[in-house]
């Protein structure tokens, strides 16, 4: 039976980053992925334009993803918030908070593809079209029987298998959550005029609507749309012909970008919130969406997942350097303790978000969103927050500070 230190389930952005950060430090890692090899070598668009915060970008840099990703990343230099059809409510200029952009917009498929390039560079073979068929946990190892018949013994199992997380389910870890009754319609648009690196967030009664600056292609300027609607309206909008859809979208976007076109397929995601009751179990750690799935308008799902990856990789590498059992309670509890506050805060914010989004009082809504944006996009505020909370158990995970493990 092959033995590895860490078995990562899921080669999504979070699983891949966890694996890369650990392998770079000399931890023996294996990654298995349910998806087919063709999908892995050329990930298809899922319409998601992901906003990455500075600390997430730094971690991706430390993990060796950023060199592959930077050509596809557009900096956010300004954020404009409007409520309903009122004039600009709030204007954040990145120069007010330092030299760094607020964040970067990258298409999700580029993150996935950068992740796989990096794993390849590190010599980590991703076992594709493979899932775990059965588990056996002993006092000193987790033993997995794979769908290809192989048996693997690992000190630690990392569940990075996304929202449904079969690994989490097999461990019997329950989730708490709710359904927002909304859908997010996402797609890329082309436009005549440059976006000038401004991200727009409009708070409309039907739900938030965002225009996110993306990198230009040969065909011209592009932006990403996140359009939230009540679920049944979302379904109706998705069913419309492209021309009709574009018409409605143009009305929502306004004319500041000039004429707009569709620059890719559109997707609708049902908006739900879920949170695992605990993020560790015997020889198991949950990371990314397997641990928590949130409202995309907060732009936090992957950012939070990246923080999980950085924290877990750090406790595992530091544990390994002390010769500790990487799947032992000491290492895992350190991970859970380190992440608990951050994830809990996000849960609270999202809960508040849920209530305020269903509230039509514009002032309340605006107040909420300003707070959220400030936390999500303003590094000093966020740093203050996290520092304060993490002070007890140490500083931010090193990769989030741009430091190697």
């Amino acid at each position: 039976m092959e033995r590895v230190d860490v078995l990562v389930i899921g080669a999504g952005p979070v699983g891949a980053l966890t694996a890369a950060l650990m392998a770079q430090a000399g931890v023996r890692v294996m990654v298995i992925e349910a998806g087919e090899p063709q999908i892995l070598s050329a990930p298809a668009s899922d319409g998601r334009a992901i906003a990455l915060a500075l600390s997430a970008k730094r971690s991706l840099d430390v993990g060796g993803f950023w060199t592959h990703l930077s050509p596809f990343a557009e900096a956010i230099l300004d954020i404009q918030v409007t409520d309903g059809n009122a004039p600009v409510l709030l204007h954040y200029d990145h120069r007010h908070v330092g030299d760094n952009p607020f964040g970067w917009i990258v298409e999700n498929e580029e993150i996935k593809s950068a992740a796989l390039k990096r794993l390849k560079e590190l010599g980590i073979a991703v076992k594709s079209s493979t899932i775990v068929e059965s588990w056996e946990f002993t006092a000193s190892a987790a033993k997995a029987t794979l769908s290809n018949g192989e048996r693997i013994e690992a000190g630690l199992v990392v569940a990075a298998d996304g929202r449904p997380s079969p690994t989490r389910q097999a461990a019997g870890i329950k989730i708490k959550g709710w359904d927002y009754g909304q859908s997010a319609i996402v797609c890329a648009i082309g436009h005549e005029k440059p976006h000038n690196n401004v991200a727009y967030e409009h708070f409309l009664p039907s739900g938030p609507f965002a225009i996110l600056p993306m990198t230009a292609t040969q065909t011209g300027y592009r932006s990403g749309i996140v359009w939230t609607e009540k679920r049944h309206l979302g379904t109706a909008i998705m069913a419309q012909e492209d021309a009709y859809f574009l018409g409605e979208l143009s009305e929502k976007v306004g004319d500041f970008l000039g004429q707009i076109t569709l620059a890719g397929p559109r997707f609708a995601y049902p908006l739900t919130f879920q949170m695992a009751e605990r993020t560790i179990d015997s020889r198991l750690a949950l990371v990314g969406d397997a641990a928590h799935g949130m409202h995309p308008i907060a732009g936090q799902g992957l950012n939070l997942g990246i923080r999980d990856a950085a924290a877990l990789a750090q406790v595992v590498v530091e544990g390994a350097r002390l010769g500790q059992d990487v799947g032992g309670t000491a290492v895992l509890e350190r991970y859970q303790r380190w992440r608990r506050f951050d994830t809990g805060m996000m849960m609270g914010v999202t809960d508040g978000l849920n209530h305020l989004f269903s509230n039509r009082n514009p002032l309340l809504t605006a107040a909420r969103d300003i707070g959220l944006l400030a936390v999500a996009h303003c590094p000093p505020a966020k740093r203050l927050f996290s520092r304060h909370a993490m002070g007890v158990v140490g500083d931010l995970p090193r990769p989030l500070q741009g430091l190697p493990l």
Binding site: A25, G26, T138, S140, V317, A320, L322, G323, A330
Partner: protein
């Protein structure tokens, strides 16, 4: 006479029986040995740091000590032997308690780690020498500490490193380790420690000097109640670690 105790003349029968009785729960981090599990990271971090420095090894790889041998005297269930083996040492672990050795062996096998475990005291290894000899929390349990150290020193190669750890014979150590840890907090079974056998750093250094080992540093370890963790300190009043190098 108890069979495990007869193996080693440097360990007293009572002491061996006491630890052997506790051995089954060695590896349960929340079990009876929880204090040791909590204590180990600070000791391992210390050992890794000073040994990297001494042997001129880069501290970033997970296993910097490949090619070096280490003897763990009083290895118990292997709580230090296993981590040190993971760090790259070829580890030999000896313990006077036969049951401890069996437990350590079983556990290492399950974890897929190769360690040479044997029952006995340092005197049973005649002829073999090691790059590093450690003896953590053992000296305070042996009947004749000076001859114990002399035996341990014979197992060390010239230029090799000795690391020991024990408790100081101070009123504070008595209060914390015996009254506090055994009677008040219930961390350790009552009777684990006999305060009279605690060793002052000067005495420890003296035993080492007689055995041709020059002490190069002594550091303390203390428990931070708030953080629930052990940390290194300059204060040697209670727990301390002593580092020495054998003359070439």
């Amino acid at each position: 006479m108890d069979d495990t105790a007869s193996i080693s003349s440097t360990s007293s029968a009572e002491e061996v029986a006491r630890f052997t009785a506790m051995a089954e729960s060695w590896w349960n981090p929340d079990g009876k040995f929880k204090p040791l599990h909590k204590f180990n990271p600070v000791r391992l971090a210390y050992m890794r740091r000073v040994l990297c420095r001494h042997f001129n090894r880069d501290a970033t790889p997970i296993a910097p000590f490949t090619g070096l041998s280490l003897l763990d005297i009083g290895c118990g269930g292997g709580l230090l032997s296993e981590p040190l083996a993971r760090m790259g040492f070829a580890v030999t672990g000896i313990d006077a308690g036969e049951r401890n050795v069996s437990i350590a062996q079983t556990h290492a096998q399950q974890s897929g780690i190769a360690i040479d475990y044997r029952a006995g005291g340092p005197e049973t290894l005649s002829g073999e020498t090691f790059d590093v000899v450690i003896s953590m929390e053992v000296i305070e349990h042996v009947p004749a500490p000076e001859s114990f150290i002399a035996q341990a020193a014979q197992r060390l190669k010239p230029g090799g490193v000795f690391i020991g750890a024990t408790m100081n014979r101070t009123a504070k150590a008595y209060a914390l380790a015996v009254v506090g840890a055994e009677y008040v907090l219930g961390w350790l079974p009552k009777g684990t420690h006999d305060w009279k056998k605690f060793v002052k750093p000067s005495e420890f250094a003296g035993y080492l000097r007689h055995a041709n080992i020059e002490t190069s540093e002594i550091v303390g370890a203390s428990y931070n109640l708030v953080a629930g963790d052990w940390v290194e300190t300059q204060n040697l009043d209670v727990n301390y670690m002593i580092l020495g190098v054998k003359a070439v």
